[in-house]
Symmetry: C2
Subunit: 559 residues, 2 copies
């Protein structure tokens, strides 16, 4: 029996999973918390926007977790030589400055204590001014770049971070031969190929976040980068013309790393991809399926065959061929805050509330409420709106408050709002790629909160399935490993066959309640009106009926 | 030295105050909690709208509190025979069904256990359907009636309550010879003149809430009342042609009640008025002064000379000649919830929050914030909007929420919103009666919350004074007593002289901080836009800049 290992590098920890490639069974998992920083993140007292990671943690994490799953696997009689491949996913865009030898500057003596030489974590927002600068310049010079990313470059992304480094830490910038994405770095490390000219870079990180697109010849134009800052030319020159999908091997496991991990040398390591993209694979993505990975924020993925050219979809932040699986566009969308909004309410607004202080109790109490009966409606923009408005300068709103509005009612309204936000995204996808046949919710909230899932089914008016696996990202990496290995080695020749055998089955299916759908359709109509009124420019509309309609819906629900 | 006693009947208790008419000194006060019901209010498990009071509590309360202040006065060498008059204020509209002898039906054997025969407390909302019916019919038959009450009849008022009683409790309705306002009943009781044809009714309760206006010959047209319900004709016939101001005596203290209270028989008892109107008197109302009595809700009063005819002011709910003092229109406005909103937040939304669970702590922490720095803006309509929108079917709203929004920030935004609501009212007054020279805030919040008062000064852009007396309503009643007694008896011949000597001096004066005013002017501009967008019909306006402007103001404030 062949097995693969998936490595899933998150924000605070890395997980390994050992999977039977024939049955998809998850034989063992192991987690390793990054030792550096606070919860794995190196922060700054002076600047709340700073978030870095130490690349040494990535090495230590791979060794600890792979050894642990092999040890657990041994008890189930899985031998190390049965492991035929490794797949890797990570957070991103998380670029790492490396020297000409491919060593992260953080691991060199000179820079070991300089956070600017560490990995620049996706949620590092120090480069917000540079992001705006890139947006402005690209809008002028290369509107086609902007069309592929929904119209706004983010401080979470590759070029903004590098440009910021050039400005605030020129010594680091000058010492860096190239910047390698975390997700490209780990496979290269395992294969002994971190030297910039040897690293196989993945389309998932390159496409949209680093402005890579075949239609304009790969990474962006040198003239454009030089117009931002002449020093960027050097970085551009370190980048390859060709990038790869997660179906390709980044290389073969080096002897050195085989020894460190306790595996056989020479097995393929798949090209890396972002966690959510491989999470979609682990959740069984297919054309017509919308996969939502729901955590502190939510990422949405849909795939669409590249054989059929697709229009740019306004507000969908990335449409990248091969970013999820080959021969399909990966179409990425997301909600900037979902679980974070629920956490804000529980941790910040109702601290110590005796009966209502945790998600489980609040959710159970919220389940007793009927749709509409609170009279409340929320705009879920507490952290801006990623899709479809692509605007961080939006904020949350609650309307319909009375002297009787309770924390439970507000909590339910917050869930409903995120479900309405999800519906806006779904409807935008459907405008361009037809009706979704299936909605699969993965991630922590999907696993833990059936009340929220039923609200999603009712508010979206669709059947919603949750995944049995609680590690769909790591599972997706294990699937990528199996594809990189190929069928001759006991893996698969393509993602479709691998997904069919290995992706997570559904755990539960939530069917919409037609009566609830009816009420939510009315509330969603009001949500959309507020969404457009507050989220778009020059949209004049009379809203004097909104509060009254909410009360009418409330009164009907209470009857 | 002459003294007067003011009796102030509130929702849960009655207070008496013994005042030196020459110096205004408050010699003694005493409070009596009504024994019936919950906190003095008879309620119903079946109907949350029901709120009644037992008239026996009114008698017991007068006896207990007057005796108590006389006892305390004796220690200061004040003799009962030095008390030259009594003034009375009560809640309202709180009509009481009485029989032909003037006995409240609640005090008769047949009806002693029937809450429909009790006093129908102002906040009884069982008659909301009848209020709408009256609004609809009056709008058609007598638009002039509606012009005087701001366009909407309330379930808190006289005719709605009586009409509802006729429908749900015809036995009570049929047994009632008339319905006497609480504020007219108590003086009549003390004078032994509760028989319906002997009761002197006050303009304060009759004007606007019972549709009394000289211009249409007093109480409303019989044909109009008959069109509502033919049975109302009987009630109309029990009402007098003439009504009185609080400067007039309702009669003289009867021998029976002189004995019960321990006072001299034959002293004048002033015609009754509503608590807030006499609160304005106790706060030193004068032309150009806006008096705000701030408690769970806020009532606003301005007076304007009747010599100068005044236009109907849209949204101002009552413009009644003599309702506060003779020869002046009393112009009444209000906010449906103020302290109630703060209480909702503290009691319902942040229960048990360890550091943030009370008004004092929240206010002190809120004082540390700069105007605008939270980025939050609230519409303070958690209990609808009394002035200037006159619409109960409006609700509260919070905009500008982020994952960092804290309870303290929300608390401050709630205070700011009520201050903006107050500014809307002030500006509406000023449109019609010129600039207010002085703003005096009385009531519990004014006395207890200097942080809120400073925010009011800054958000309204005006100097705000608070009253030294914490019993401005009772003090106003004592002043009314002094006027009813007249100068020959040691009182005063008019309210202006009485107010000059007896009304409460200012306790503190809050001066607006010009820098804060500047920020609040910008926030108020946004408040007004949301106010008009959500509070008025057919008001189409683009609001896509609102969230962004709040963030810009926030970012500037944080610098």
């Amino acid at each position: 029996m062949p097995y693969t290992i998936g490595l899933d590098y998150g924000t605070g920890s890395v997980r390994a999973i050992l999977v039977n490639t024939t049955t998809g069974e998850e034989v063992a998992t192991s987690t390793f918390d990054y030792p550096h920083g606070v919860g794995g993140v190196v922060i700054s007292k002076k600047d709340p926007n700073l978030a870095r990671q130490h690349p040494a943690d990535y090495e230590a994490g791979a060794i600890a977790t792979v050894k642990a799953v092999l040890k657990a696997g041994a008890k189930r009689k899985v031998k190390p030589e049965q492991v035929i491949a490794i797949g890797v996913d990570t957070t991103g865009s998380t670029p790492i400055p490396v020297n000409t030898a491919g060593v992260p500057l953080a691991l060199t003596k000179k820079f070991k204590n300089d956070p600017n030489a560490y990995a620049w974590l996706w949620k590092d927002h120090t480069s917000h001014a540079e992001a705006e600068e890139i947006t402005a310049l690209a809008t002028k010079m290369h509107p086609e770049y902007m069309a592929k990313i929904g119209g706004r470059y983010s401080s979470e992304w590759y070029w903004a971070k590098i440009l910021h480094c050039a400005r605030v830490a020129p010594d680091v910038f000058n010492a860096a031969e190239s910047w390698v994405e975390f997700t490209d770095y780990v496979p290269a490390l395992l294969c002994g190929t971190t030297r910039p000219d040897l690293v196989k870079r993945g389309i998932c990180a390159a496409g949209h976040k680093a402005f890579f697109h075949e239609s304009w010849g790969g990474y962006p134009d040198v003239a454009f980068l030089k117009a931002l800052d002449p020093r960027l030319e050097k970085v551009r020159k370190s980048l390859p013309d060709k990038v790869y999908t997660a179906a390709d091997p980044a290389g073969m496991l080096s002897a050195e790393w085989a020894k460190k991990l306790g595996l056989k040398a020479g097995i393929p390591v798949a090209v890396g991809a972002f966690d959510v993209h491989l999470g979609a694979v682990g959740s069984g993505i297919a054309p017509g399926t919308l996969v939502k990975i729901m955590g502190t924020s939510t990422c949405d993925l849909v795939i669409s065959p590249t054989a059929k050219p697709i229009a740019d979809v306004p507000g969908i932040c990335g449409i990248v061929p091969g970013s999820v699986i080959p021969d399909y566009y990966g179409m990425e969308a997301g909600q900037s805050a979902v679980g974070d909004i629920f956490n804000w309410f529980v941790n910040v607004i109702v601290p110590g509330g005796p009966k209502e202080a945790d998600h489980k109790k609040l959710s159970e109490a919220a389940a007793e409420l009927k749709p509409g009966e609170s009279g409340l409606l929320v705009l879920d923009w507490h952290n801006g709106n990623r899709t479809i408005l692509v605007d961080q300068r939006l904020t949350g709103m609650i309307i319909g408050l009375t002297l009787h509005s309770s924390p439970v009612e507000i909590y339910r309204a917050l869930i409903e709002a995120t479900a309405f936000g999800a519906r806006v995204i779904m409807e935008r996808y459907e405008e361009y790629s037809g009706k979704m046949q299936k909605i699969v919710n993965g991630g922590g909230i999907a696993a833990k909160n059936p009340v929220a899932m039923q609200i999603y089914a009712d508010a979206m008016g669709r059947e919603v399935a949750t995944t049995k696996s609680q590690q769909t990202c790591a599972l997706g990496s294990a699937i990528a490993g199996a594809v990189a290995a190929g069928s001759s080695a006991g893996g698969y020749d393509n993602f479709a066959s691998a997904i069919a055998k290995m992706a997570s089955p559904a755990h539960r299916t939530f069917k919409p309640n037609p009566k609830h759908v009816e009420t939510y359709d009315r509330l969603y109509g009001l949500y959309r009106r507020l969404h457009d009124a507050f989220g778009t420019a020059n949209h004049a509309e009379a809203l004097g009926d909104v509060m009254k309609q909410l009360l009418t819906i409330r009164d009907a629900a209470k009857k």
